[in-house]
């Protein structure tokens, strides 16, 4: 049954993994508010980051379409409001009511992939120059929001899309279009539009497939590196652009990338250690 893309506009927030929510609650509950940096605690969780950005970009705070990083949002909202946002984050039920209809998504791997892509995007943004590192980080973190939304709200249909993709040997994005009438990438964009995210973040998503923006190309390259370093999203969803074309569009060479590799790997390890604490 075809769904309406517009229905995603009424979604308030996306669920996160129970381990992540628990880890954040433990961290915020066991230390005094002066002892922790709330952004550090939630920075690798795509759902929590999306919720915080949604609130910060809401008309209430007067900065609609202007807040593109967790650091900016934290400055605007303060730790108390962010803690309340985390408390509102629903739990993703990975083992859904009807087990056999659940989509075959390895959510732990997906979370790791998002966190590492964020880390690498932030690092690449800093090393390439001319980009805001924390905005690159955010774009990397939330690039799979569409898949998370489909998993949470239409799990059976997403499972069907996986099945279609496998049977017809087409990409998951194409299978999603067949089943839903739109892709997870479009869902991602719909959510970001409804939640008043800045245009730069919206463009970064389209960049993943078409490389229309520099930010999009950075995220695509980070995603590719994450997969190369054994942290893929396990969705086989995109017709990934080649590394060469990404390097070309970012005006960097393979040598540059080799030179930056140790530093980028350090960023990735940091994300892994933070996320594994939670999982």
């Amino acid at each position: 049954m075809k769904k309406s893309l517009h229905s995603f506009r009424s979604i308030n927030n996306l669920p996160s993994l129970p381990e992540q929510i628990n880890s954040v609650l433990v961290a915020t509950g066991s230390t005094s508010s002066m002892d922790y940096n709330i952004v550090e605690i939630i920075q690798y969780d795509p759902s929590m980051a999306l919720s915080v950005l949604k609130v910060a970009n809401s008309p209430v705070y007067g900065y609609s379409k202007k807040i593109s990083s967790l650091q900016q949002a934290a400055g605007l909202l303060g730790p108390g409001a962010i803690k309340n946002i985390i408390l509102r984050t629903p739990i993703l039920e990975r083992y859904l009511t009807n087990h056999k209809d659940a989509p075959p998504v390895d959510f732990c791997s997906l979370w790791l992939h998002c966190g590492i892509t964020a880390s690498l995007s932030g690092g690449l943004g800093r090393l390439i120059g001319g980009l805001e590192s924390d905005v690159c980080f955010t774009a990397g973190l939330i690039h799979e929001a569409g898949v998370i939304a489909l998993s949470a709200f239409y799990p059976q249909e997403l499972a069907e899309a996986f099945e279609t993709s496998k049977k017809e040997k087409i990409s998951l994005l194409d299978a999603e279009k067949k089943v839903f009438g739109f892709s997870s990438s479009e869902v991602n964009k719909e959510l970001m539009t409804a939640w008043n995210f800045p245009d730069s973040l919206l463009e970064s998503d389209s960049g993943i497939t078409s490389q229309t923006s520099k930010l999009g190309a950075v995220v695509a390259l980070a995603k590719l590196l994450a997969s190369e370093w054994d942290y893929p999203n396990c969705l086989h969803s995109h017709n990934e652009p080649s590394k060469e074309s990404l390097l070309k569009s970012l005006k960097i060479t393979a040598d540059d990338l080799s030179e930056w590799e140790p530093e980028l790997k350090r960023y990735a390890l940091l994300a892994i250690s933070c996320l594994k604490k939670g999982g």
Binding site: N12, N13, V55, S58, P59, V60, A81, N84, L87, R88
Partner: protein
């Protein structure tokens, strides 16, 4: 006896759904609380204009509506003046009699909110549908401070198409914050206005005039711009008081103040200097222009006929003018001194005339 598997499963499913619902409700409450705290911080201001701006920016989102309007109530005139709104077509200075809006009138009279899920079929409907609204509901909340109505908040239209009890409950809480902030700001503005205004005539008082004149003199010294002042005094005012009584004297002062205001331009300052003495500060005005204004005021006063117990009488004024001269005028006191001397001369030469002073 062991519980069958399918019952266990059913119960765990029920518990899970219940927890989900509880979580959602708690989430909504937390969000509402955050909004309330932030709104309270945002509208904790002393300027009603600023509060209106913040309301227009934040209120629709916080109250889950597309449109809102807030009217201030003028209880003496029984009028409602639009203070804040986000309707695209409403005139900014809209003012209506309370009788023109039955729903607002009743919410104020009863001191209770009115919530009509289908406004068009309610008894408040006057047959004119607002084309902006896609939803049928209309909420009108009176804003009160200690049983005193200060205004009405109207809420219309949203994406859901209806307004539920939870939304309304939250809107009532928000309206109390808004009422308190607006009331504070209005009180502050009144006190601020009174502190710079002459109680009888409504013109600027002496102290405020001195401060404005000081700024004007500084501006003239910096930019070499022109500035003139007119000192004015009602002739034989003591006789007026003695003959017709102080009440009549006050009426004449009021009348003279309104004549001064009539000839004031937007940047001019009209003030009561003290007693029956008045001053007009005229920025960017040379002595010739000041003389013209002084003469028009003098002639206007001369032509007015006052009446006391059937007896007509006239009142005249004398005027002294001073123009700022960067070489000879060092401060406001120098300028006032020149104008005062010119006024003295006008009195000395027979009153009801204008004299230009020289430093």
């Amino acid at each position: 006896m062991s519980v069958p598997e399918h019952l266990k499963w059913q119960e765990s499913e029920t518990v899970r759904n219940l927890l989900k619902k509880q979580n959602n409700l708690l989430g909504d409450s937390l969000e509402a609380l955050d909004h309330l705290i932030y709104l309270q911080k945002s509208i904790n201001l002393l300027s009603s204009e600023e509060i209106s701006r913040v309301m227009a920016e934040k209120l629709p989102y916080i109250l889950s509506v597309k449109y809102f309007s807030f009217f201030l109530f003028d209880k003496d005139r029984k009028k409602l003046r639009l203070m804040s709104h986000n309707h695209p077509d409403l005139q900014p200075d809209l003012s209506i009699y309370q009788n023109d809006s039955p729903i607002m009138k009743e919410s104020m009279a009863s001191g209770r909110y009115i919530f009509e899920q289908d406004f068009a079929s309610s008894r408040y409907f006057r047959g004119r549908r607002n084309k902006l609204f896609n939803s049928d509901f209309f909420v009108s909340i009176p804003l009160m401070i200690e049983n005193e109505i200060i205004g009405v908040l109207n809420l219309n239209d949203n994406d859901k198409g209806f307004y539920n009890v939870g939304d309304l409950d939250f809107a009532l809480n928000v309206s109390e914050f808004v009422a308190l902030s607006i009331s504070n700001a209005l009180l502050f503005e009144t006190v601020e206005r009174l502190s710079v205004t002459d109680g009888l005539t409504g013109l600027d008082n002496h102290q405020h005039m001195q401060s404005l004149l000081k700024n004007e003199v500084i501006r003239c010294q910096r930019y070499s711009s022109s500035l003139s002042i007119i000192m004015m005094d009602i002739d034989h005012f003591k006789n007026v008081n003695d003959t017709y009584g102080h009440q009549k004297g006050d009426d004449i002062l009021l009348d003279f103040a309104s004549t001064m205001k009539k000839f004031c331009r937007s940047n001019d300052v009209a003030a009561r200097y003290g007693g029956e003495e008045f001053i007009l500060v005229l920025p960017e005005t040379k002595v010739k222009g000041a003389f013209y204004i002084a003469e028009r005021i003098r002639e206007e006063m001369e032509s007015q006929i006052f009446n006391h117990k059937g007896k007509d009488f006239n009142v005249t004024v004398s005027c002294g003018i001073a123009e700022f001269d960067s070489n000879l005028t060092k401060n406001p006191a120098d300028l006032i001194k020149v104008a005062d001397q010119a006024l003295y001369k006008a009195k000395h030469e027979g009153r009801n005339r204008t004299v230009i002073g020289s430093p």
